[in-house]
Amino acid sequence: MLSTLTSIFIATASAQAAPPVVTPADFWLPIGASVQSHNVDLMFNIINYICYFFFAVVVAMMVWFVVKYRAKPGTRIRNDGLTHHTGLELSWSVIPLIICIGIFFFGFTGYVDLITPPKNSFDVNVTAFKWGWQFKYPNGAQSDNLVVPSGRPVRLVMRSNDVLHCCYIPSFRVKKDIVPGRYSTLWFQCDIPTGLEEKNGYHLFCAEYCGTGHSNMNRRVLVLPQAEFDEWLVKQAQWLDEIPDDELYFKAGPKIYARCQQCHSLDGTIGLAPSWQGIWTRLTTPGGARFSDGKSYADIIGTGKEYATPEDYIRDSIYNPGKHLVATYGNVMPTFKGQLNDRAIDSVIGMMKHLDEFDAKGAWTKTVPPAAASPAKK
C-alpha cells in the first residue's frame, strides 16, 4: 500500500509541475478539470487506500476467525481467549487517532485553498431560482449556461430568489449552498477551453433539494480562451438588440421560452402552470380562464379596467407573477423583473401570438420570413 501511496504522491507532484491537464474519469471520480481538482482527488484517493487497508484487515480477521473457530453445537465451549488486552486496545484507539488527525490536517489545508478565491478573479453574478439559473456578467450580458474564460480564476457571487439552492460543478470539485437573503461565493479556475458546444461543457447541478424542478436545474459550464470569451461577452450583451423588431418573436422568443418551458407547455400538457396553448384566444375572447378569486380575464382586461390590453396583463404577470393566479395553480412562479427587459417581453408576447408557428418544444417550424407569411402582423 505504501508503494501505491508513494506513486500517487509522485504522480501528483509531477502533475503540478506539468502543463495543466484534464484528468480523465476513473472508477470513482469524474473528469477533473479545475486547478483545484487535483488536490481533492489526491486526498480522496489517499483516504480510499486507508479505507481499503482497514477494511481488508477487519474482514480478513473476521473470515479467518469464523472459519478457524467454527464449531457445531455440542462442542465443548473453550475458555482460553483473552478477555481484554489494554495495549492492543490502546493501539487501535491511538493509531486511528493519529491517522485521523493527519487526514483532517490535509483536508483542512486543501479546503482553505478551495474556499479562498485569488485576488484577480473574474466575477460572475449568479441568481438561482425555482427552477433555473441566470448568469450575469459585469457588462450586463446574461446567459443560461455558465460561460467563463480559461486560465483565470472565476468567482461566482451567488444569490437565491426563493429557497435554498446549491451550485455544484462535479468536474471542478466545487460546491456551495445558495441561501436566500445572503450572498455566497464559490471560485474555480479551469485551464482547458471547451468551446461553446454544449455537449463538451461540464455539468452544473443544483445539489440542494428545492422542489419539483430540482433535478432539471442542470446547466453547462463552457470554458473559452480569454480572447474568444471577450468577444462572446460583447456579443452576448447585445444579442437582443441586434435582432430586427419583426424577427424578435421567432429568433429571441424560443431562447427566452427555454426558461419558461419547465412549467408552461405549448401543447396543452398540464404542468405546474397554465399551458400557453391558445393563450391569446383565451385572453381576447370573453369568458376565458378563471382566476382563483373567481374573476375572469374579461373582468380585468379592457379599457378602464386593471389592464388596458392583454399585452399589459402578460407583462405584469411576468414581473408580478403572484398577483392574479389562474384557478387551481399555485403561486410558484418567480419574478423576472430585472431579467427580462421590454424587448425580451415583446419576444415572448410575439411568440404567444404566433404559437401555430412553433412545435411543442418551442422550435420555430416556418422558414418563410414572417413579413411575407403574415402581413397582418404589427
Binding site: 486507508i50 480477521m61 473476521m62 473457530y69 465451549i77 482460553d80 478477555t83 487526514i103 441561501v179
Partner: protein, 569 residues
C-alpha cells in the same frame, strides 16, 4: 415503582412454558391496556415492522422510478413525496423506535432481572404517543402529502404548497415525546432496578448501549420538538424565524435541526452496536473482548454525538472556522467506532462459533458497518466533502450505517430474541438464506451508490444525466433482491409462528439473565430472583441434546467458580 401484580394462584401450578406472558390474560383489552413491558415491546415491534413495510414499499417505488432518466412510473411531484415519506417513515417511525422501544422494551427489564420497567404506565403512554404520531403522519397523506424531504429544510418547508406539512410536523413532534419518555424510563430502570450483584460493569453491553441511547434521547429530542414548533409557528402565523423574506435565517434552522438529528443518528446506531456486542459474544460463546472499552465507547459516542452536528453543513454557508472545528471533532467519532469494530472482531478469536442466523446478521453488520464507518472519513474531511456533499455518496454512506448497520442489527436482534419473544424456533436454514440475500442485495444497491455519488450525481434527483443510468439500474436490481430477502425473512417468521418448534430456555447459549427464564417468559419474568453472574462467561454451558438448547453444567460451573476464586486470590 414497578407494578405489583398478584399472581393468580391457579396459574402458579401450571407447568413452566404454559403460563407465559402471551397466555397470561386474553382478549384485545388485555393487550391494549397492558402494562407488561413484554407485550408493549411486541406491540411496538409489530407496529415498527408494519411501518418498515410501508417505508420499504416507498423505497422500491423510488428505485423503480429511477430505472430510467425522466419519467418512468410517476411525476416529479409524486417522486418528491415518495422520497420524503420514505425518509420520514424510516427515520421517525422505524429506526428510532425499532431497537430501544421494540427490542429494548422486551429485553431490558429481563436482562436486569426486573419485573418491568420503572414506570410501566409511562411505557404504555409512550406506545400510544407513537401510535398518535403515526396517525398524524398517515393523516398528512390525506391532507395533501408533503414534499419537503425528511429534513424539512426552510424556507422550502414553510413555503411549499403541499398540505400535509403541518400534520407531519405534529406527528414527528408527538413521536419525539414517545422517544423521550422511553429514554427517561430506561435511564431510571437501569439506575434503580438492577438486581443485587449486578454492578455497572456486570451489565450486559446491550444495557450500556440502551443507557447511552436513552441519554441522547432525553437530551436531544426536546431540541427537535422546539424546532418543529418554531417551523409550525412560521408556517401558520408568518412569524419570521427561518424564512429570510420575513427576516429569518435558514441556516439557523439547519443548526437546530442537526443539533437533534446528528445525535439521532446515534440513537439509531448505538443500540444496534449493543445488540451486536450480545450476538457476537453469545454466538461465539466467548467472553466479549475488552468489555470496558466497548462500554465506554458507547458513552463516548453519545457524548461526541452532541458536538459534531456542523459536519452536515460544510457547504451551507457556515463559516470556514466553524467548518474546521466541526471537521476536527467529527473525526473523534472514528475512534470509539474503531475500538468497537476491532473488539468485536477480536471476540471471534478463540471462540466457539456457531454460525446461526443471528450470528450471520452479526457478521453482516460487522462487514457493512466497517464500510459505512470508513466512508465517513471521506465526508468528515473538508475538501473531499465539498465534492461529495449532497450526492449519492452521502446517501450510500448513511444507508450503510442506518440500514446496513442499525436495521441489520435490529433484524439480527429480532432473530436472536425471537425464540424468547414467541417461544418458537424458526427454520434456521431459511433465515440464513434470507440474511445472505439481504446482504447481497444491500451491497448491490448501495455500493453502486458510492460510485454514483463520487461521479457527481446529486441526491433527491427525479431526473438524471444518461451517463448515470447504468449505476441506477444496478442499484434498482439490488433493491429488488433485497426485497426478496426481506420477503423470505417474513415467510420464515410467519412459518415459525404457525408451526415452529417449541423454543428451549437457552437456544443459543447465552448467559445474560433473559436466557435463564423460560421461553416465552412468564408474566413476572422470573419465578424466583435470578442469580447474577458474569454474563459473558460461557465456560459452564453445555449443549443438551434432549433440551435442544444450552444448560448450565454443574461440574463446569464448579470449575468456573473455582477459576474465578483463583483469579481473585
Amino acid at each position: 415503582m414497578t407494578t405489583i401484580v398478584t399472581p393468580r394462584p391457579e396459574l402458579l401450578d401450571t407447568a413452566a412454558g404454559k403460563d407465559n406472558y402471551l397466555t397470561y390474560t386474553r382478549g384485545f383489552l388485555s393487550w391494549a391496556l397492558t402494562l407488561d413491558h413484554k407485550r408493549i415491546g411486541v406491540m411496538y415491534m409489530t407496529a415498527v415492522l408494519a411501518s418498515f413495510l410501508v417505508g420499504g414499499t416507498f423505497a422500491l417505488l423510488l428505485r423503480t422510478e429511477l430505472l430510467t432518466p425522466g419519467r418512468t412510473i410517476c411525476s416529479a411531484e409524486t417522486y418528491n413525496q415518495f422520497f420524503t415519506l420514505h425518509g420520514a417513515i424510516m427515520v421517525f417511525l422505524v429506526i428510532i423506535p425499532s431497537i430501544p422501544a421494540a427490542l429494548g422494551n422486551f429485553v431490558l427489564p429481563i436482562m436486569l432481572g426486573a419485573k418491568d420497567v420503572a414506570f410501566p404506565k409511562l411505557n404504555l403512554f409512550s406506545f400510544y404517543l407513537w401510535i398518535g404520531g403515526a396517525l398524524f403522519t398517515l393523516y398528512s397523506l390525506a391532507a395533501g402529502g408533503f414534499d419537503t424531504g425528511w429534513t424539512f429544510y426552510t424556507p422550502y418547508s414553510t413555503t411549499t404548497t403541499t398540505g400535509g406539512v403541518i400534520p407531519v410536523l405534529m406527528g414527528v413532534f408527538i413521536l419525539g415525546f414517545s422517544s423521550i419518555f422511553t429514554g427517561l424510563n430506561f435511564i431510571v430502570t437501569v439506575h434503580k432496578l438492577r438486581p443485587p450483584g449486578m454492578t455497572w460493569f456486570r451489565m450486559p453491553l446491550f444495557l450500556w448501549a440502551l443507557y447511552a441511547t436513552a441519554i441522547i434521547q432525553v437530551l436531544a429530542t426536546p431540541v427537535l420538538a422546539i424546532t418543529l414548533c418554531l417551523l409550525i409557528v412560521e408556517r401558520t402565523m408568518n412569524i419570521g424565524i427561518f424564512n429570510p423574506s420575513m427576516g429569518g435565517d435558514p441556516v439557523l434552522y439547519q443548526h437546530f435541526f442537526w443539533f437533534y438529528s446528528h445525535p439521532a443518528v446515534y440513537i439509531m446506531i448505538v443500540p444496534a452496536m449493543g445488540i451486536i456486542s450480545e450476538i457476537i459474544s453469545v454466538h461465539s460463546h466467548r467472553q466479549i473482548f475488552g468489555y470496558r472499552f466497548i462500554a465506554f465507547s458507547s458513552i463516548a459516542i453519545a457524548m461526541f454525538s452532541f458536538i459534531v452536528w456542523g459536519h452536515h453543513m460544510f457547504v451551507s454557508g457556515q463559516s470556514g472556522l466553524m467548518n474546521t472545528i466541526f471537521s476536527l471533532i467529527s473525526f473523534s467519532v472514528a475512534i470509539p467506532s474503531a475500538v468497537k469494530t476491532f473488539n468485536w472482531t477480536m471476540t471471534l478469536y478463540k471462540g466457539t462459533i456457531s454460525l446461526t442466523a443471528p450470528m450471520m446478521y452479526g457478521l453482516a453488520f460487522l462487514f457493512l458497518f466497517t464500510i459505512g464507518g470508513l466512508t465517513g472519513i471521506h465526508l468528515a474531511t473538508l475538501n473531499t466533502d465539498v465534492h461529495l456533499h449532497d450526492t449519492y455518496f452521502v446517501v450510500a454512506h448513511f444507508h450503510y450505517v442506518m440500514m446496513g448497520s442499525a436495521l441489520i442489527g435490529m433484524i439480527g436482534g429480532l432473530h436472536h430474541w425471537w425464540p424468547k419473544m414467541t417461544g418458537r424456533m424458526y427454520n434456521e436454514k431459511m433465515a440464513i438464506t434470507a440474511c445472505i440475500i439481504i446482504f447481497v442485495g444491500f451491497n448491490v444497491t448501495f455500493f453502486t451508490q458510492f460510485m454514483l455519488g463520487s461521479q457527481g450525481m446529486p441526491r433527491r434527483y427525479y431526473d438524471y444525466q444518461p451517463e448515470f443510468q447504468v449505476y441506477h439500474v444496478i442499484s434498482t436490481i439490488g433493491a429488488y433482491i433485497m426485497a426478496c430477502g426481506f420477503f423470505t425473512c417474513a415467510v420464515c417468521f410467519a412459518q415459525s409462528l404457525m408451526s415452529g418448534k417449541q423454543a428451549p430456555a437457552n437456544p443459543w447459549g447465552g448467559r445474560s439473565l433473559e436466557w435463564q427464564c423460560t421461553s416465552p417468559p412468564p408474566h413476572d419474568n422470573f419465578k424466583s430472583p435470578p442469580t447474577v453472574g458474569n454474563c459473558y462467561d460461557f465456560s459452564m454451558l453445555r449443549w443438551d441434546e434432549k433440551e435442544q438448547g444450552y444448560v448450565v453444567d454443574k461440574e463446569l460451573e464448579a470449575l468456573a467458580i473455582a477459576a474465578e476464586a483463583r483469579g481473585h486470590s
